[in-house]
């Protein structure tokens, strides 16, 4: 039996020690926001935070986690950097298919928490492990900068009111 602290809650789970956290989250606990993309830490779709650090959960055996705090996409919005990143993601409409975006947002939120004003090289270093086949990279880069500075980087989306109302 392993006890995991996920998003501020404790989950006792009866799984083998070598089972990667990804599958415990998805198939045992039912937190499916964290995605499976490659299984070998090549794509970053499974990125979560372990004590605030971005890690690839597809290669992280649950037995090695101990009492470190796990944060997933479902709760990253409760952190200041996660909240800023998610808002910027909406403002410039980063997502396309969206499948990799949980991992992108987790990686970007960790970046912002440690490097409040990342430059392009910081973004490359932190985000190059996260693949996006829709290739939303231009907007990812812009959204990270926008989240950091609060300054609009690209054309901002309209939700509805007042400009996008239908009458």
């Amino acid at each position: 039996m392993v006890s995991l602290s996920i998003n501020g809650q404790t989950y006792p789970v009866d799984v083998p020690d070598d089972m990667p956290l990804l599958w415990v989250l998805r198939d045992v606990i039912g937190l499916t926001g964290t995605k499976f993309g490659c299984g070998i830490a090549q794509c970053g779709a499974c990125t979560v935070h372990l004590d605030g650090q971005a890690v690839r959960s597809c290669v992280l055996p649950v037995g090695t986690i101990g009492n470190r705090a796990i944060t997933t996409i479902e709760a990253v919005g409760n952190t200041p950097s996660g909240q800023k990143i998610q808002q910027a993601w909406l403002d410039v409409d980063v997502v396309q298919c969206g499948y990799c975006q949980s991992g992108q947002i987790m990686a970007a939120a960790a970046l912002l928490a440690h490097t409040p004003n990342p430059n392009d090289a910081d973004i490359d270093a932190a985000m190059s492990g996260n693949l996006c086949r829709c290739a939303t990279y231009v907007r990812i880069r812009a959204a990270i900068k926008q989240a950091a500075t609060g300054k609009a980087e690209l054309q901002q989306t309209i939700v509805s009111m007042p400009e996008g109302a239908a009458s």
Binding site: P16, T32, K35, F36, Q96, R133, V138, A166, S167
Partner: protein, 758 residues
Amino acid sequence: MSTELLSQASKQDEPVNPHRRHMLKASGLAIAFLWLGGTGTAAAMISARRQPGDTAAAMADGNPPFVPNAFIRIDSEGPVRLVMPTVEMGQGIYTGCCMLLAEELGVGLDQIKVEHSPASDELYGIPLLGGQITGGSTSTRGTWSVLREAGAVARSMLVSAAGVKWHVDPSTCTVERGVVHHVPSGRSLTFNQLAVDAGKLPMPDKVQLTDPKDFKLIGKPMRRVDSEDKIKGATQFGIDVRMPGMKVATVMACPTFNGKLASVDDKAARKIPGVVDVLRLDDAVAVVGEHFWAAKKGLEALVIDWNRGENANLTTQQLRDAIADTARNGKGIVARNDGDRPQGTVVQSEYQSPMLAHATMEPMNCTVHVTANQCEIWVGSQVPMRAVQEAAKITGLPEGKVLLHQQYLGGGFGRRLETDYVEQAVAFAKQVPYPLKVVWTREEDIRHDRMRPMYHDVISAVVDANGLPVWYGYRTSGGTVLARFAPGAMGKDGLDGDAVECVVELPYDIPKGHVEWMRHDMPPGIVVGWWRGVGPTHNLFVVESFIDELAHHAGKDPLEYRRSLVQKNARALGVLNLAAEKIGWGGQPLPARVGRGIALGEPFGSHVCAIVEVEVTPQGEVRLRKAVAAIDCGIAVNPGSIEAQIQGGLLFGLSAAMYSGLTLKNGAVEQSNFNDYRVLRINESPMVEVHRVINAEAPGGIGEVGTAIAAPALANAIFAATGVRLYKLPVDRDLLVQGPDALKSVVSATTHERRDIA
């Protein structure tokens, strides 16, 4: 035929005749799909007035009081529900469709709830494709008129219901954000309050569409309707489906094509905690677990003996040799023929394009529950009805007993136009009583893709004294996706229209041409599939690389050369000039080994020019510095989506051209995961600017346009930087090394670094 749409778009004051079908200009994949004759699919088209026809359909959609058509459901309370005829795989079509419906209906995008459609050709068939298919960049072109009309029909009925209630002329009522107002009397009723009454009214024969100058939503960069859930990890993709009693399987199919399962020893696998079952098909094995990890451990513990079959020794080189022979010597099916090649200077080249995997971020998966009299499927599919039909065949159930629950797609790119992964999941699931989720590993996903075919092309031109072409010749050889996917759509003499798309017609003023296709089927078992940009992606690489060669041959600047050939084509000239202006073509001189490449094309009913700027290191590494695209796709529904699709599509194409290619050894795909099937990462990705030509022409396709134009712009840029012409994709860095000394410096740098570490 596009003029009809155009006139409709520009003459909004004329009422829409509901019985007139708008034929759209077919291009790209859609050309291939125009097989309406003879197969009875003419009825399989979306309509602004057709409703779900039976009780089951009504119950499935919650039996709302107002269902004027298959796209709008209004209940007595809650948000307006909009049902999407196509599927969302990232291209932003849910947002586009919602904008078309909401614009005419009179609701904000913050007042709606989006729903996937059930599987139904009759209700959701796209005319260009003859069925409920999302592909070929046809969705906006296929829904632009009908969804606005559908919204207008609903609005008209809601307003009529209010008029009846208030005893006023409906024309004195207004609609705003889901509320009907009668200003003179100060009365208002919401759509919810009017739903029951509106549901009892007859359909209006004619409705008035909004004048484009009064559009509130269309043309604005509206936020995607699926963004909010996607940034929270709340969107349910196929792979996220969970239900009580469900087990998870992962599979391995025979590594060789057409190979079979000989035997499998599962004793060790069954001892692994969490392993539930080991299932067999004649060409694959699945291990079922309580969770994916148990299934994967179980799969690794199997001792499998494959009968590797007829392709056991197949290599890529054998395939390449055979296709090259066909391209040079095969008898072609003529797609264009303006007579014999004239006398003059001939320029000729041969180009090769590789097999490609789709590598959607969400690996193939499908959840199935087969019971005695029903088969339920949860899957993200670009072809829901085809999936239903295949599942019915496998289970022996009637199609009406196969219920498909559409999911969001974690990428499609053509991969999910196939049903192989659904068929396999159904075949496994019918062996067990519980709901079974089959999830492929990434390795399985790469090795058992329905890969983009390889091609070999011979292109030639006769040029005049100024180096301008007076005739062009094209001999393209490759496998055919269409002959399998829609045999009825094959053209005259068995021509695959997709194979010659964007080369039968060029944007350029070249008086004569001869285009032929040499069908070259792969060995049995190698099934080729649609890949983003389909025929145009491959043909534009060849044609636009060759136009660059001709410019070089003529000693002309590639921009000026193209300009001189598109003087009669205003839209092509427009995007060419816009892109050139935005990147500053011909301005400041570029540094050494930096170059810019142009590509111009007219795929999918749109007009596009891409200019890519690269730097090639002395060691042959290619760095993408910048890309500019100019797009003329006519009326823009959501300019934000257009920008995103051109940006992402272009990078998708650059990614493949830079890195991707599937190869075979001993009959099996050599690549397996993102470590050896390399794709573009953010640190390798350039800034991509997208500029739009604004006009009121009929909408063109968008989702595949950027991809189709990417590779030639890259190859031409590399030529400009190095003088090396790339006749083969992906980019071969060995060809781009500046000289022997360049590599020596790498070796010494590496050695030095090692010394430091030691």
